[in-house]
Structure formats: C-alpha cells, structure tokens
C-alpha cells in the first residue's frame, strides 16, 4: 500500500494515538497513523470531559480553534436512592478563568480537530484501515503491521499501539492478555438535544459555563458502577456504566439501566422535552494499576486505554491517554535523535518517564480501589439508601426531638450493616484510598 518505511506507525486516532502522532510528527519524524473508522472519532465514545492541562502540554493554544462545549464551573457528586439524591456540589466563579481547567466536549468533533492538527504537523493518516496484526522479524522484534487493505503491509522502526480498550492487535500478538470481565465497565450513553437557553436556565448557567453530575447508588441495581450527566452547549450527555462481570449475575440490560436513570425523579426534569440523537456504548478500563499490561517491548509501546490508563475514582481517562501518548512520542523522538534503536531496553525509558508523572502516581495510589468497590457492593446500594434516609430523618420536621432523630439515624446504620461491618468498610476504604 505505502512503499515507504516510517519512523513510527500509530495504531488508532483517539486521544492517545493523536497525542503520540502529533508529538513525533512535530519533531520531524515520519509518522503513519492508521484508523479503522471512516473518520477519527467515528468509533470513539466518551462522556466527555477534556482536561486542559494534558492537552496544553501538547498544543498550548488549543483553545483558539478546538471544538469545546462548556467550561466546567460546577461539579455535582450524588449518591442516589430510588426517589432522591444526596449531593456534594462545588461551584466556583474561579473556574470562570481566562484559561479554564475542564471542558465538556463532543468526541467525534474533538477527535476530528485533533486529527487535523496531527496531519498539519506532518503525519500521514489513513482511515478505513483496520490493522490485523503486527509484523515481526526472525528475532521477534516488531517491524510493522499488516492491515486489511490490499497489499496492506507497512514497516516502521516502532509501532505505537493506541488501539483502545478493545485492542485486538496487541492481544492477538500476545503482548497482553485479553482484558478480564471484572476489569472493564460497559457504559451506555445518549446525546439529548435542547436549546441552549433551556440548558442554561435548568442548570443556572451563563454563556459557556457548564455543569457535570457524577452519580452512584441504587441506579446501578446493586452493580458496581456510576452514572453521569454533562451539559454541552446545545445538548446533554447522559449515561451509565457498570462492571461487565456484574451484568452476568443479573438480568439487567444496560439500556434498561439508562432508561431508569433518565426516568429518575431528579433527572427526568433536566431532560424534559429533549431530542435524543444518538445511543452509544463502549468499554472503560477499570482494572486500575494491577491491570496495566507490559507497556513496551522490542519495537512497540502501548498507550491510552489499551494500557488500562483510567483513574476510575476521579473519572479521568482522556488526560491519561494524552499524557501516555505524548510521553511515548517524546521517548521515541529522543531515541531517534540519539540514534538509539527502539529496543525493549531503550523503550523502557517510556515507562521510566511515565513513572515520574501523575499518571503512574495516581494509578498506584488507587491500586486497591477496584478491589474495594468490587468487594463492597454496599457502596452502591445500601449506603446510598441509608444516607438518603438519614438526610430525610434530619430535615423532616415532624415533632420528633433532635436527639431522638440522631439516635434513629445511628440505629439505622447499625441495624443495616452492624457496627463491625461499618467499621470494616470504613477501614477498607481508608486503606484503599491512602
């Protein structure tokens, strides 16, 4: 297909692949990027929140022309039972800054923009091209890829696998095991359109201010998972996701959970009168630090979701994707400058650099969280119910004296989970968190 030999082939045109391709192309490396979709973004799904810091390190002036929806000025974190939520809301005018920190985005549009930047930097992008396998030499070193195009082999010094959570190439080449069903979540999402004035009135917003809601509780029907609702300029992204292995033991459907979340008495009025224009589903890596596979070898590196780089607690992923992509790109460029071959030993520099960033530090910090959330299902059902009941007991004025109310609240927790149970859960959480 393409006769030339490349310095690097990047498999995938999502945030990690684009970050890697851009970083290398900008420094003059000959980069080929392969994307199986008709256009970059056509296979990609995210909430989506863009974290400016990670992108600034790649394209400092991205705000000039990137398709951004709203900058986030308010974060709502809810625990929900069937009729209520208890929320922690943080809203600050400080987020109305000249260079805002977080934005809602629409991925198909954002990925197209990012891809245009990659091509302007000099990389060649081939869409509608599915990579089938890695090519190796007689020593087992990766030397290129085979695609589904006629005559579809192409060679490079190094292959960057930015193929996402559902990455077949690396798995089938034996670089990493198939992801297990307890380390990925299945999330479904809808795009609901409303006039921007309606969104601004419902969420108390002015101009491009935005609100994001992250929610957990009985909405996931006992499974480990969360739901979200993000405001875009003229649409609302609403979705819910649960660990895949949890679905196996239930008869819940993902779209049933989404419908139930949308019909919740606290969510329904926010979506009233909207028009749904798309339904999407995607896996999210949730296995944490211990699920991170081998990240480099002779002639290859893994970046983004394919490397399980998601901070499930903070709902961060795209920033980890962009950062791992950038650092892989910088490492490959650095080796090229030094005329060092991209051997396993030399590419270990990628991991060394990654270890020094927030990416690995955060992954490590929360390494026990997946296990905690998986093993403490009360977090998703019982506790949200107890917290809601406690709030209701506390706020409802019914002639009961306050001391009796306090006692009733404490009793409800002890009765439902026993004192050792409560202490144990708290202890496990603290241990997993610190």
């Amino acid at each position: 297909m393409i006769e030339d030999r490349f310095d690097a082939i990047v498999v995938g045109a999502g945030p990690s692949g684009n970050a890697a391709a851009y970083t290398m192309a900008k420094e003059g490396l000959k980069v080929l990027q392969l994307e199986r979709g008709e256009y970059p973004g056509s296979k990609n799904v995210q909430g989506a929140i863009l974290y400016a810091n990670a992108l600034e390190k790649i394209i400092p002036d991205f705000r000039d022309d990137a398709p951004l929806e709203r900058h986030v000025i308010e974060q709502r974190i809810w625990t929900m039972d069937d009729s209520s939520y208890v929320g922690m809301h943080y809203r600050s005018n400080d987020f109305n800054e000249e260079q805002p920190n977080r934005y809602t985005i629409i991925r198909a549009q954002f990925d197209k923009w990012f891809s245009r930047k990659v091509r302007e930097a000099g990389a060649i992008l081939l869409c509608e091209t599915t990579v089938k396998e890695l090519l190796r030499d007689s020593h087992g070193r990766v030397i290129g890829v085979r695609t589904d195009r006629a005559d579809g082999t192409v060679f490079a010094d190094v292959v960057v696998l930015a193929e996402g959570v559902n990455g077949l190439v690396g798995e089938r080449s034996g670089l990493r095991p198939v992801v297990s069903s307890d380390s990925v979540a299945l999330a479904v999402k809808e795009m609901h359109f409303l006039p921007r004035e309606v969104i601004e009135a419902r969420f108390n917003l002015q101009g491009n201010e935005g609100v994001v809601i992250e929610a957990m509780g009985t909405i996931t029907a006992g499974m480990t998972g969360t739901a979200f609702l993000y405001t875009n300029q003229e649409s609302i992204s609403v979705g819910i996701g649960c660990i895949v292995s949890d679905f196996e033991g239930t008869d819940q459907t993902p779209y049933g959970l989404l419908e139930a979340f949308k019909s919740h008495p606290t969510i329904k009025p926010l979506l009233e009168g909207s028009e749904c224009k798309e339904y999407a589903a995607h896996l999210i890596p949730e296995g944490g630090y211990s699920a991170i596979p081998e990240l480099y070898g002779d002639g290859w590196v893994v970046v983004g979701d394919a490397g399980q780089f998601v901070n499930a607690v903070h709902r961060e992923g795209s920033n980890l994707a962009m950062t791992t992509g950038r650092i892989a790109g910088e490492t490959i460029t650095w080796l090229k400058r030094r005329r060092d071959a991209p051997t396993k030993a030399n590419l270990s520099e990628y991991k060394r650099r990654l270890d020094a960033t927030f990416v690995m530090k955060d992954m490590k910090k929360y390494r026990k969280i997946p296990q905690f959330l998986h093993g403490t299902k009360q977090v998703f059902g019982l506790y949200p119910q107890l917290i809601s009941q406690a709030a209701q007991t506390w706020f409802r004025v019914d002639g009961t004296d306050k001391r009796s109310k306090e006692k009733e609240i404490l009793r409800s927790f002890r009765k439902a989970r026993t004192l050792p149970g409560l202490v144990g859960d708290a202890f496990k959480l603290v241990r997993a968190w610190r």
Partner: protein
C-alpha cells in the same frame, strides 16, 4: 417506593439504535457464534448484557447473533473470552457504527 431499575426494563433498544448511523458490511458479519448444543452461562448472559440487543435465543435454545446494530463495544468478546464460543473481529475498515457525536 418504585424500583427505578424495573421502570427501565421495558426499554426498547431498537428505538435507540434507530438514531445511529451504520455502514453495514452486508454478508460479512464481524461476529459469529461457533455452532453449539448448549450455550454457556457466559454466552447466555449476552442476551441481556449486549447494549445493542444483538443476541437472542432460537427455538433450539441456542444463542444467535445479528450484528447489524452492533456498536463494537467488545463486551461479548470479553465475556466469552474463557469459553471461546464466539469469533470477534473488527468490521472491515470504514464499516460498522459511525458515531456522529460519540
């Protein structure tokens, strides 16, 4: 108190998929189920877990897949990885779901 999860159980996935854009690779399904007598529990669970409702039970109690509405999430691939009951590939380049928003 109503159970909200029950409220959603009647949701029609076909109506949701109707919103989406696809380029169907006619006659070349990217997922196939190996012939089987009795499906495993894992494969059976795809009937409710598949977010596009692609999986169903036929009158011989075998599981069938219709990939036209598939959103390529890969859940079925992960769920049946241990049983090896399905063959999962990406659609050919350019085919399959085409997200307008993602």
């Amino acid at each position: 108190m109503t159970n909200n999860a029950e409220l959603g159980s009647g949701a029609k996935v076909e109506e949701k998929l109707f919103q989406n854009r696809y380029l169907v690779d006619a006659g070349r399904p990217h997922i196939s189920i190996h012939p089987h007598e009795r499906p495993s529990k894992a494969l059976l669970s795809m009937i409710h877990t598949c977010p596009a409702g692609c999986y169903s039970l036929n009158d011989k109690s075998q599981v069938e897949v219709a990939v036209d509405g598939c959103v390529e999430c890969g859940t079925c691939r992960v769920v049946t990885a241990k049983t090896g009951e399905i063959e999962w590939n990406y659609p050919r380049g350019g085919f399959g779901v085409l997200y307008k928003f993602g």
